[in-house]
Chain length 235, copies 2
């Protein structure tokens, strides 16, 4: 039986053997929600990089540059980290270079060992789940967290994946059980459950309540971004 596990922080990724696993990276607020939205609106590819410098270098080579640090846009780049910024006709067919505080780092960390790295968000939950059902590998959901610490929203997404797969996959470890139990408690009111979480408070101070509401919607899009070489493309 295939296994599903959850890694609650990239700081714990080294404890997981992913050589037989598809890794689903999630950063609900807001990197992976942006990525999914971008592909749904016609972006051709997204190149995730760890540093602002790498992102600038790619922008100089013709990529659309998207750089976020501490939940805010870095000066000198074209795109911020709001999913609404990706609903833009000018992005259709373009290549985006993206760096964020947590999400893009998790993708580059997962890449060396995993069978495949895909990108998940509530926005494409069902598409991710169907993709995972129709393949022979184990699954690890990697929560991007916040600067190494665990966070609620990514854990809830991981729990939603466990919930959808638990009849067909073996839920092997406590990380996956914790995520599932939290999702089971929160599923009927994700926004209410998250109301006092640290990241929601951080984002609310920045006045982006509409991003929060948007990122918690399920199954808006069918697209599953997958890493091919150094770039994410639509599967």
């Amino acid at each position: 039986m295939k296994k599903i596990d959850v890694c609650l922080s990239p700081e714990l990724l080294h404890l997981h053997n992913t050589t037989n696993s598809i890794v689903v990276v999630t950063d609900i607020f807001r990197a992976t929600s942006c990525m999914v939205t971008g592909f749904a609106y016609g972006v051709k590819s997204i190149h995730p990089v760890e540093t602002v410098e790498e992102c600038k270098a790619l922008q100089d080579r013709g990529y659309i540059g998207a750089a976020e640090r501490n939940a805010q846009k870095v000066e000198g780049f074209e795109l911020d980290n709001s999913p609404f910024s990706y609903m833009d006709d000018r992005l259709v067919g373009t290549s985006v270079a993206m760096t964020t505080t947590n999400g893009t780092r998790s993708i580059t960390m997962a890449k060396p060992n995993a069978v495949k790295v895909i990108v998940g968000a509530f926005l494409n939950l069902e598409a991710v789940v169907n993709c995972l059902k129709n393949q022979p590998y184990d699954v690890l959901v990697l929560c991007a967290g916040w600067k190494g610490k665990v966070n609620l929203e990514d854990t809830l997404f991981a729990g939603a994946v466990v919930n959808a797969l638990r009849d067909e996959f073996h839920v092997a470890e406590d990380g996956a059980m914790m995520a599932y139990e939290l999702y089971d408690k929160a599923k009927d009111n994700l926004l209410g459950f998250l109301a006092t979480s640290s990241h929601i408070r951080r984002l609310q101070r920045l006045g982006i309540q509409k991003d929060i509401t948007y990122c918690l919607q399920k199954n808006l899009y069918d697209v599953v971004p997958v890493l091919r070489g150094n770039e994410l493309v639509a599967m």
Copy 2:
């Protein structure tokens, strides 16, 4: 207002600033449950060490040696890692040297920076809570986990502490919220909630169901072990 936070694994401890915090180390199955039981039954001190070699050296110097790896007693030592082994008149007034897979390492990791390191288990939950209420510092509950990974039982204990302190302390971070929410879901039936957890299955294979049931009892003892120098003593 004082803050309370939870660190779900010793691998994440470096992300927490504990210079103004009392750290409560917990390893429910079974290191900290053993320690609390030992002090309740008259042990004078417990010297936690990271390696089996250090434990052996202390045993050679007259300590009672207790060494566990992978939930089993290491050959050549006097005590195993069952709390029932600490209910022994021969231990009254003695000094124990202890090394375990997870719990003792967490104590030695927490020591350099924290204001104070104390030991918590369900067995002394209320005593720990009262101790934390009557002091001016922030609180970090450090879950020992399993070889760096998170586990359910330590997280539930952390959630029980958050639950008891949340009116008087600021619950600042998502780690603490996750622990609280899980405890809130599990509190009426800890054993049932844990029935499928990885460590319960590991321990059940070893035939120590009675240890599990015992370690989930609340408030059997009033003692709070505290680290003074290199040794735990009763506060």
